[in-house]
């Protein structure tokens, strides 16, 4: 077929139109989440000369060979991996901060010091009813603070478990979506814009999934993805597995995929798991402290006599930080005098022993150490989190440089393809002029 100026120009105009469409699509989706910049791939249409006509000019114009997605598999995998790590660190850090809040803002440490101070004040006048009431009030306040701290920890754990359960549901939804996208991908035509959209969806789903749990991916020839986590297959072809979580007795979480236990190494689920372990350990230590104080004071009480000369009764009841209560009804029950003292004795021997026992048991120090351990843990995790955040944002920038839409580039493309369109139009004009000239000859 001989070259035909008009049809060449027409194909150029068509290609420029398509390229303009792609540019407009890019501009329209500049801030769409998960959208990967498209490029129209131009191909020259050239027909080889026929038999005995090898030297013929056979130019047939241009066509759009396909719509290219500017996605880089490696960079996308990096974004997923670093995102997974960051999600884990973020969830763990926020859980730990809740633990710190529960322990610190509840003022347990201050209330222990106040209780010590009230006992010390009482020693100046052990029979003074207002000082006795103040000491018992301080004990009550301390028990209350322990309750508040324990319920704060419980709430922190509850929040983490709730979030984890929601994330597990999310993961299952995403897995099903991925399976559906896999099926559609198998049917989509190569290089079609439909396929590009499906791939966008696939990558966005994978990124969301990696925020929940660390995943490994492998891709088939048609773009269908196989997702594994913790060595177990989560999605393959059109089949999605089911992720489930179960709460252990101490409030920590166990995860299973299709019934097989897995341990998430990244994502929100791993973060929640780590934070819950920390919550459980903080609770155990808080309970130990509360029980320690209660038994120290109650033992000291039993060694002395109350204001009326009777043997001292326990001040604290209940077990653990959450159950700690003051069971003594009046300040006169405080056993300040040693055993065998008469009623109304001002002998503060047992009170001194009680104060020494409380200080010796390291109640305030223990609480301070607990706070220190949690807060230094957070300080360390914050450094890790900042580093992971920098790494994740670097990976994201890398990917965006390739896959993101830059409006300046698109503006330049818009102008370029508009000019190409006008030029092709001009070529058509030339063809028409030539035709008119030829017609004029006759």
């Amino acid at each position: 077929m001989a070259s035909d100026l008009l049809s060449i120009a027409a194909s150029g105009a068509r290609a420029a139109r398509s390229a303009l469409d792609v540019t407009a699509q890019n501009i329209a989706n500049a801030s769409t989440e998960g959208y990967v910049r498209r490029t129209a791939v131009m191909e020259e249409v050239a027909v080889a000369g026929g038999l005995l006509r090898n030297g013929d000019i056979s130019l047939s114009g241009v066509r759009v060979g396909g719509i290219d997605r500017n996605a880089d598999m490696f960079r996308q995998a990096e974004v997923r991996r670093t995102g997974s790590d960051l999600a884990r660190a973020t969830t763990e850090l926020s859980g730990l901060k809740n633990v710190e809040n529960a322990l610190e803002k509840s003022g347990v440490y201050e209330s222990i010091v106040e209780f010590e101070a009230a006992l010390q004040q009482l020693s100046s006048d052990p029979t003074n009813p207002s000082l006795r009431a103040a000491a018992l009030g301080a004990a009550d306040a301390m028990a209350g603070k322990f309750n508040i701290a324990a319920s704060g920890l419980e709430a922190a754990g509850e929040g983490l478990r709730f979030d984890a359960a929601a994330s597990v549901d999310d993961a299952n939804t995403i897995a099903q979506e991925l399976a559906r996208v896999n099926l559609k991908l198998a049917r989509a035509g190569e290089g079609s814009s439909d396929k590009a959209t499906l791939l966008d969806q696939r990558d966005m789903l994978l990124e969301r999934m990696s925020g929940i749990v660390d995943i490994k991916t492998s891709f088939g020839a048609d773009g269908a993805v196989t997702v594994t986590t913790g060595g177990q297959t989560m999605v393959t072809g059109g089949v999605a597995g089911t992720l489930a979580s179960a709460t252990a007795a101490d409030g920590t979480l166990n995860f299973t995929l299709d019934g097989t236990a897995i341990t998430p190494g990244g994502g929100k689920l791993a973060g929640a798991s780590l934070a819950l372990t920390e919550v459980a350990s903080a609770r155990t230590r808080l309970d130990t402290l509360a029980d320690g104080i209660a038994s120290t004071i109650n033992t000291a009480q039993a060694n002395g006599v109350a204001l009326d000369g009777s043997t001292g009764q326990p001040i604290f009841g209940g077990t653990g930080a959450v159950g700690m209560t003051v069971v003594m009804s009046g300040g006169s029950g405080l056993a300040t005098a040693p055993a065998g003292s008469a009623a109304g004795s001002r002998d503060a021997g047992n009170l001194s022993a009680m104060r020494q026992a409380l200080e010796g048991s390291g109640a305030a120090q223990g609480m301070s150490t607990l706070l220190f351990d949690v807060s230094s843990h957070i300080a360390g995790r914050t450094v890790t989190h900042d580093a992971l955040s920098a790494i994740a944002s670097a990976a994201r920038t890398e990917l965006d440089q390739m896959a993101g839409v830059d409006l300046d580039t698109e503006a330049a493309n818009l102008m370029r393809f508009q000019q190409a369109f006008q030029a092709s139009g001009r070529a058509m004009q030339v063809a028409s002029d030539i035709f008119q000239t030829l017609m004029g000859i006759g």
């Binding site: 710190e100 106040e114 101070a117 010390q120 004040q121 100046s124 807060s375 230094s376 994201r396």
Partner: protein
């Protein structure tokens, strides 16, 4: 080609400006609260140190309050001891006068006066501390002595509860009755009330009173010695309390200094850092506006 995508540009600018805002707000909080740390994890080591310092400070406050109580009690005891000494001196005067040439009626009148002094002394012996307990009763909650008509029986306890002044130091904020009133006359242990009671009875009873007067004078003499000894001890204890107060004050200043150094926000440097953060924030806001206007679409017509 390195090209930054448009949405990444907006995301990044937003993130950077947010970070600067957070930093500026934190510095602002530090200036307002005068505290560098808002939570332990800001600086775990400093926070732990602050907790220990705060506890020490709180307990030192109680030490101070206990020490103030002990000081008040000792001052009350001191003034009671002063009155007791005056009463003894009066009694001595009267006893000397009774030893002179007086008629039986006059002697009886002196005896009456001495009986009155005995009651005054008994009231002084039962004087109350700031907490409402007997100053000279040891650990008792009620009176130190009960009146028997001619003498008095000690009903307090045999020891005084020490007041804690911190750092393991204590002071006795009072006396037991016998420490002030018990005396030794010719090898027999008696007390001032009995001495005065016996003298009053002898003077009012008539007859030869010279022996009774002599005994009473000897008793009053050693009683006065005992009381002034107690006064000296009170002075020494008050000095001790003052010494501990000074020490606590110095320690308190050191603790306050350390607290400021460990957890306080230094106004000057915080202000400078805030100014820096604000300048950077303003600059980045201005450059953000400039950059976001720098779109090819604004130029292409």
């Amino acid at each position: 080609m390195v090209s930054l995508s448009t949405s990444a540009f907006y995301d990044r600018s937003l993130g950077q400006m947010n970070a600067l805002r957070v930093q500026a707000e934190d510095l602002n909080r530090q200036i307002i609260s005068q505290e560098r740390l808002s939570r332990s994890s800001d600086d775990p080591v400093a926070a732990a140190r602050l907790r220990t310092l705060n506890r020490g400070e709180r307990l030192a406050q109680i030490d101070q309050s206990n020490s103030d109580t002990a000081q008040t009690d000792l001052k009350l005891a001191d003034s009671a001891l002063g009155s007791i000494a005056t009463a003894i001196l009066q009694a001595q005067e009267l006893a000397v006068r009774a030893g002179g040439t007086l008629s039986a009626e006059q002697r009886a009148a002196v005896g009456q006066e001495i009986a009155g002094l005995r009651e005054t002394l008994l009231n002084l012996a039962n004087a109350r501390s700031s907490g409402g307990h007997a100053l000279f009763g040891g650990q008792t909650t009620g009176d130190a002595y009960s009146d028997t008509g001619t003498g008095a029986t000690y009903i307090g306890t045999g020891s005084v509860d020490p007041a804690h002044l911190g750092e393991g130091q204590t002071v006795l904020p009072g006396f037991t009755g016998p420490e002030v009133f018990s005396i030794d006359v010719n090898g027999t242990t008696t007390d001032l009330f009995t001495v005065l009671g016996n003298l009053a009875a002898a003077l009012q009873g008539g007859g030869d009173t010279s022996a009774a007067t002599q005994d009473a004078l000897a008793g009053l003499e050693s009683g006065l010695t005992k009381v002034s000894t107690a006064q000296t001890m009170t002075g020494a204890r008050l000095n001790w309390i003052e010494l501990m107060d000074n020490r606590r004050e110095t320690t308190g200043e050191l603790v306050a200094e350390e607290k400021a150094a460990v957890g306080g926000a230094d106004i000057a440097s915080t202000m400078v850092r805030l100014q820096e953060a604000m300048t950077v924030l303003e600059a980045s806001q201005a450059s953000f506006v400039q950059l976001s206007n720098l779109s090819l679409f604004n130029i292409l017509r």
